[in-house]
Structure formats: C-alpha cells, structure tokens
C-alpha cells in the first residue's frame, strides 16, 4: 500500500504482438489482461501477422485493393484462422487446443480480447504493416484505438517494460 499522499507511479507494460499464432496471441492477451487487472497501464501494439488477430472479420476475407494483398489477407484469415506455432497440422490442432482449454476452464482468446478494452488495455496497430497489407482502420476491430508508427510506439513505450511476442 502507498504511504499517505504518495501515489506510486503506474508501471507500464507494452506488448508488441508481431506473431499471428494462436498460442502466442493467448500469451499476449493473458499477460495484457492480467497486468491491466493488477493495475498496470498496458498497450498492445499489433504489427505484421499480429494484425490478423484484430481484423474485424473473424474468418477469411480478401481485404485490400491489389490482387496480392487480397490473396494474402484471404490466406491469412482472421482470429478464427490463427494457427498454432507448433504441431498445427493444417489447422486441426487449434480446434483441439481450444477444446482442451475449455475442458480445463482456461479462458479462450475471444474472452480475453473482450475483457482487454474493458480493463483499459490500449490497442494500437502498426501503420507500416497495415500499409503493406492494404488494411484500413475500418478493417480492424472497433476497440483498436489508434494506428501508429515507430515514433508513436516509442512515445508510448517511455518508461515501459516492453515485450516482443
């Protein structure tokens, strides 16, 4: 507990979510929601494959303008198509993993994704990666607060613990 009149500075945690793997997304959201519930100020910065987690369309959709971007976005899919980083077996294992998690009452990714903004976790997307994949802010989940570049990310990371997942 803080001494009377002395407020401890709020510790910050910044998570760079580069990966679009289900297991890594689970790790990122477990840490983010847990830290926010423990009073930390949390920012999640989604870049490259990590953008698949926060696409508004949960399944496959050909987003973007160019043929290449549309093909990439369709193949990558959304949160429902996230593969496991190991033993993916063409998408069979994520289904089994979700079943195992349910059997052990472990929160599903979607449950933590819903809790994150309610706990004050700040979600931001990488401008450059969105540019490459031809994604607009409208293609992303409404809870995504902002689209930022390196400067914006560094500004938010001042005095923060930074994790790269």
């Amino acid at each position: 507990m803080a001494e009377a009149g002395v407020q401890p500075s709020k510790q910050k945690l910044n998570i760079i979510v580069f990966s679009g793997d289900l297991d890594r997304a689970l790790a990122a959201f477990t840490l983010a929601t847990g830290a926010a519930a423990l009073g930390r100020e949390v920012t999640m910065f989604f870049t490259f494959w990590g953008l698949n987690i926060i696409k508004k369309d949960r399944g496959r959709k050909a987003l973007g303008r160019s043929v290449l971007a549309r093909a990439f976005n369709w193949l990558l899919g959304g949160v429902k198509n996230l593969p496991l980083s190991r033993l993916n077996f063409a998408g069979a294992s994520p289904i089994l993993m979700r079943r195992m998690m349910r059997a052990h009452n472990v929160a599903q990714l979607e449950e933590m994704m819903e809790a994150a903004p309610k706990l004050g976790v700040r979600l931001v997307a990488c401008e450059m990666a969105m540019h490459i994949l031809e994604l607009t802010k409208d293609d992303l989940w409404d809870a995504v607060e902002d689209v930022v570049g390196v400067a914006g990310f560094l500004e938010a990371s001042k005095d923060a613990q930074v994790l790269f997942i």
């Binding site: 847990g34 423990l38 009073g39 052990h104 929160a107 809790a115």
Partner: protein
C-alpha cells in the same frame, strides 16, 4: 453483487473480479467465492492495488473462500 470464480483460472480470476468491481455501484459490496492458491493470492492483492478495500476473507471449509470487497 456476488460472483463465483472457483472454476476460473489465471488471469480470468482477477480479471472477472476487476470487471465486476467496475460495474458495481459506489458504496456497495462485492462478494467473491474463490479457490485457494493462485486466486486467493492474486484477487485480494489486485483489489487493493486498484484502491478497493478488502473487508473480509474467510474460509468456507471446502477449499473455497469468501471475499468481501468494498467499492
């Protein structure tokens, strides 16, 4: 308001408590039923760190505990 988090695992144990506290009207009490171990260690701590007051913490005799938190 009452919540049962005995079937939850980390981090949803204290995440659910924090979300319930956010919804709770000012001046009211939240009663939490929770398990020993991780929830009993983390839930009261997260409540206190967020500025809520833990009024009571008592064992139910079946491996679960009851926590009273004031908002």
């Amino acid at each position: 308001m009452e919540i049962d988090i005995t079937r939850e695992t980390c981090p949803m144990t204290f995440v659910k408590v924090r979300l319930a506290l956010a919804e709770l009207p000012e001046g009211e009490k939240l009663i939490v039923r929770l398990s020993e171990g991780e929830p009993l260690e983390n839930v009261p701590r997260s409540c206190e760190e967020a500025g809520f007051r833990v009024l009571a913490k008592r064992p139910n005799g079946d491996g679960t505990w009851t926590l009273e938190v004031a908002k």
